[in-house]
């Protein structure tokens, strides 16, 4: 059984929670840009959080199902239709053999996640189905989906319909505020840099992708020249190359980096960052470790609350 990609959209990839455990060999984690919406979509069809979904970017795909199954879409607000019937975002929906799902206009956010009951069964690579585009690993042949691709899925397992009203609060008007913890090279920056970071809007450059967002704004002034010794990095790191234009590392980032990092976007806000598109604006707000953990617990509760809504 499979679902068939009729039109791939701008950039559609297979993602699960990511390929952890191999970064010492230079293998990037990849995974969803907005992990919250990926998990939510899975939850709505009764999947484990690690089940593989399709990440859809800005222009969505058209897909045909070769079996009866249950699907859910979470994340960006697209108009989605299945054979003329509106498919709501954030709810599970039954689809039948031969039916076609079409993504239309995007109203808010940048990335949506399509989960199918049982998950996509593309071959795992090093324990994960996540697509890493640069190294051509995972997903379907390590690449973005193309017309004619067939993604293996389970034969329709009955799933209790579920509805979720509390999704991610998407960026409004292309503006997002992200909370940031300092370090680990904050001593490389002049005090003005921190002031600029927390008082100015940065624009997501067109030269942005799943590896990272280049942020256009006033240069963040460094107090030291040269580069620190390359070290392991994580998603959310704000690297500042010599010219002072920050780069926010996203899901496909390299395992190590040699630019000083002025701070890290907190885990709770990374899903929001994943909903940004080129041309959107981002503001950074300083945050303590304690508040960061608190925010993550609140985010987790949003998913837990849903478990109680099953069958509503």
């Amino acid at each position: 059984m499979a679902l068939v990609i009729l039109r791939p959209g701008l950039l559609s990839t297979v993602q699960d929670l990511g390929r952890f455990g191999h970064q010492a060999s230079g293998v990037s984690v990849a995974g969803p840009m907005d992990v919250f919406s990926h998990r939510l979509a899975n939850q709505l069809v009764g999947n484990e959080p690690d089940a593989a979904t399709i990440e859809v970017t800005l222009i969505g795909p058209e897909i045909e199902f070769e079996t009866d199954t249950t699907i859910a879409i979470a994340g960006a607000q697209f108009d989605v239709a299945c054979e003329g019937r509106l498919v709501p975002i954030g709810a599970s929906v039954a689809v039948s053999h031969g039916q076609r799902l079409r993504f239309g206009r995007l109203h808010q956010g940048a990335r949506a996640y399509l989960a199918v009951a049982g998950g996509l069964k593309t071959p795992p690579v090093l324990g994960s189905r996540a697509t890493h585009l640069v190294s051509h690993i995972g997903g379907l042949e390590g690449r973005a989906l193309a017309a004619g691709d067939r993604l293996p899925i389970d034969e329709g397992a009955p799933v209790v319909p579920a509805r979720k009203s509390i999704g991610l609060t998407l960026p409004t008007g292309g503006r997002t505020r992200l909370r940031v913890m300092r370090g680990p090279q904050d001593e490389w920056f002049a005090p003005e840099a921190f002031q600029a970071l927390s008082s100015v809007s940065f624009r997501v450059s067109p030269r942005s992708n799943r590896m990272g967002y280049r942020l256009e704004g006033p240069p963040l002034v460094r107090s030291r020249d040269g580069e620190p010794i390359s070290e392991p990095v994580g998603m959310g790191a704000i690297q500042v190359p010599g010219a002072g234009e920050p780069i926010l590392l996203m899901a496909d980032h390299q395992t190590a980096g040699g630019y000083p990092k002025i701070g890290y976007v907190i885990s709770a806000d990374l899903p929001l960052a994943g909903q940004l598109a080129p041309g959107d604006f981002v503001e950074f707000v300083a945050c303590t470790r304690q508040d960061a953990v608190g925010a993550l617990i609140a985010r987790e509760r949003q998913l837990l609350r849903h478990s109680g809504l099953r069958g509503a």
């Binding site: 060999s25 230079g26 990037s28 190294s135 010794i229 390359s230 190590a256």
Partner: protein
């Protein structure tokens, strides 16, 4: 992510300490620990903040940091040999490197094959090992404008480092040769030919250059 600093220099002993610390922490494991990654002189610990008690993790790091080695490598560590066809289409920068260093291409090859290199860390793409240090007389800066396509197997020099491109990618290193060795194969265990701390010797393929 938590970053543990074992030093602030590119130094074999500091690097060995980071690698051993990473190994110890990996052996300890623990709920919510997603990945442990040694760098040149640091160890990155990727974890789930909701499952990991940071105080306990920091205590575990302190314990694992005791009695770290003060040597570069155990004397019986094996040396991985990588066969290279130097020069020609696979090593388009060999002649320019020789010119810039005021020696012959054969001298560059002799110097590149004449040392045992240490793998300090992997990064950039899967299986890409940053190795050092090259003979000071063949130290070369990166290309100012990186090539858009560097073929898989290309052997390059950048500063005091040398390395092999496992897959075709853009790249700015000075390319002096090419190896048929498969640096990374996800179907193989381990997938990466090289691991942090490994020792490597390049061997000139007969009849090349």
């Amino acid at each position: 992510m938590l970053l543990v600093e074992c030093g602030d220099t590119i130094d074999p002993v500091v690097n060995e300490r980071a690698i051993v610390l990473a190994r110890r922490l990996r052996a300890r494991g623990g709920r919510g620990i997603r990945d442990i990654v040694p760098g040149y002189c640091t160890v990155g610990i990727h974890f789930d903040p909701l499952q990991v008690d940071l105080v306990a993790l920091e205590r575990a790091i302190d314990e694992a940091s005791r009695d770290l080695p003060s040597i570069e490598a155990l004397p019986d560590r094996p040396v991985t040999e990588i066969e290279v066809a130097y020069g020609g289409a696979g090593g388009p920068d060999l002649d320019a490197v020789a010119d810039a260093c005021g020696c012959s291409p054969a001298d560059v090859i002799a110097k590149h094959t004449g040392r045992i290199y240490r793998v300090y860390m992997l990064g950039f793409v899967p299986g890409f090992a940053y190795m050092g240090r090259v003979d000071p007389s063949i130290v070369m800066p990166r290309h100012r404008v990186p090539r858009e396509r560097v073929p898989a197997g290309s052997v390059g020099i950048a500063g005091e480092q040398t390395g092999v491109y496992p897959i075709e990618t853009p790249g700015g290193w000075q390319l002096i040769g090419r190896t048929p060795a498969k640096m990374f194969d996800p179907g193989r265990t381990p997938a990466s030919l090289l691991a942090p701390g490994d020792l490597v010797r390049f061997v000139a393929h007969r009849g090349a250059a």
